[in-house]
């Protein structure tokens, strides 16, 4: 079941690319989802709460493992750093204390990377965790923005725009108050520009959360 929607914001000509998602497309994992933003596509699969190795188990909470595989080649340091960002965001959103001594495994596969990869991974991860029925106390979404050489803020940049910009930022925002849960930034920018970017991303996240709501109600009301 695919859905596509678009949204816009007046300031700085900041418009999110067309995004869409698909639920439960894989048969083996407990939950799976694919998220598409423009041309960037990420596939996520969740297994859990499942058996955990004694060396990794935690007595009071579930152990979350995230694996991100790039489209070509072996996973490198960049993938490891993205995995840590995603893992920390998911741990903050999941109610891990409800399943102690278990493991939750989240596997992400980059199908195509055309910019805003970390944001797309976060969105796919959130949809897959919801699809698996894991208890969460809030939802989260990822929004990416770039500041180009002239100082204009461009929302949801493509890979070409990311290369030409002087700073690229990705934020994970929560659904209850749209506050920043995780930020990953690269490049040079002033403190004022950071605050502006956060404000632009918060406005854009509202459309992503509305999309989550519409896609869940379409999925359940169809069944």
């Amino acid at each position: 079941m695919m859905e596509v929607t678009q949204s816009g914001s007046a300031q700085h000509a900041a418009v999110l690319r067309e995004f869409g998602c698909e639920h439960s497309l894989l048969s083996r994992p407990d939950g799976s989802a694919s998220f598409v933003q423009g041309d960037t596509t990420v596939l996520a699969g969740v297994y859990g709460p499942a058996e955990v190795m004694v060396s990794k188990e935690s007595f009071d909470r579930a152990t979350l493992e995230v694996t991100l595989k790039p489209k070509v080649g072996m996973p490198g340091v960049a993938e490891r750093s993205k995995e840590q960002c995603i893992r920390q965001t998911c741990e903050a959103a999941l109610l891990t204390r409800l399943h102690p001594r278990t493991s939750i495994t989240l596997s992400l596969q980059t199908v195509h990377d055309d910019g805003a990869l970390l944001a797309c991974c976060l969105n796919a991860a959130c949809m897959a965790l919801m699809d698996a029925g894991l208890p969460m106390h809030c939802l989260f979404c990822g929004v990416c923005c770039a500041i180009d050489q002239q100082g204009t803020i461009k929302l949801d940049p493509t890979a070409k725009e990311e290369k030409e910009s002087r700073a690229v930022m990705t934020f994970a925002l929560d659904s209850t108050d749209c506050r920043v849960m995780m930020s990953s930034t690269k490049g040079s920018y002033t403190a004022a520009e950071l605050q502006q970017c956060i404000a632009v991303c918060q406005r854009a996240s509202e459309s992503i959360f509305q999309f989550y709501r519409d896609s869940v109600s379409r999925r359940y009301c169809k069944a």
């Binding site: 102690p100 208890p135 106390h137």
Partner: protein, 239 residues
């Protein structure tokens, strides 16, 4: 997002939604509210922790109806388990959860220390959870509180075991299940349904067993009309 609960009954809700109940504070009456699966209490608030449809049963029971595939053991539920090991006085049983459950050999009808039950590794057992919470290893028994088997125990000579989603299993086990009624009309067969998503079926011939298994696996995503048309075609081909 704060929303009034009456509007949301029957609609999809997302994790993080706060539900507001209209409580009339009058004359020291405290209203009792039962939060089922998918709802959690945080101080004075009730919030949703899983995405699904909000359901309500009079007078005060609310829960979230969701489609899940991974089973989490809960006390009192009857499940189909596969015996994986015999260690001392206890059988280790795989129920599809995060941990293996333990089943004592005394928890069978008529079992004593001298008279051990005839259970081998690989057998299917239909048992009930007596202990199932997040902090302890789950425990199963094959007797009810009076000491009778009541349908539980080892079963499964012949037949086929397969896995479906938890939502389908709950639909099949509901009192007036249409799927079961339609299936009964096609041909006679035996079925054991475990709340952990496992179903065992056995019909007179292997082909009929496979037909029933395939129908049940595909029932999940069909509407009533599609299901009736498939059942009609199958009964025409069989007869």
């Amino acid at each position: 997002m704060l929303c009034c609960v009456k509007e949301k009954i029957g609609e999809a809700v997302l994790p993080g939604d706060l539900l507001a109940f209209e409580i009339q504070k009058s004359e020291n009456k405290t209203e009792k509210l039962i939060c089922g699966p998918g709802l959690r209490r945080d101080g004075e608030d009730v919030f949703v922790c899983k995405s699904g449809i909000l359901r309500h049963k009079e007078p005060n029971l609310y829960w979230i109806d969701l489609q899940q595939r991974r089973y989490v053991p809960a006390k009192g539920e009857s499940v189909i388990g596969i015996v994986t090991a015999k260690s001392g006085d206890v059988f280790k049983v795989d129920v599809g959860g995060s941990e293996q459950a333990s089943l004592s050999y005394l928890a069978f009808e008529g079992a004593t220390k001298r008279n051990r039950p005839n259970v081998q590794v690989g057998d299917l057992v239909y048992a009930q959870f007596i202990i199932a919470n997040k902090d302890m290893e789950p425990e199963l028994v094959c007797i009810d509180s009076c000491g009778r088997a009541n349908g539980m125990g080892v079963f499964g000579a012949g037949g086929l075991l397969f896995k479906v989603s938890l939502g389908l299993v709950r639909k099949l086990l509901s009192p007036q299940s249409e799927i079961v009624k339609d299936l009964e009309k096609i041909f006679p067969f035996e079925m054991v349904i475990g709340l952990n998503g496992r179903i065992w079926v056995k019909a007179k011939t292997t082909q009929q067993t496979l037909i029933v298994a395939n129908i049940l696996e595909s029932c999940e995503n069909m509407t009533t009309e599609q299901r009736r048309s498939i059942f009609g075609r199958v009964s025409e081909n069989v007869l």
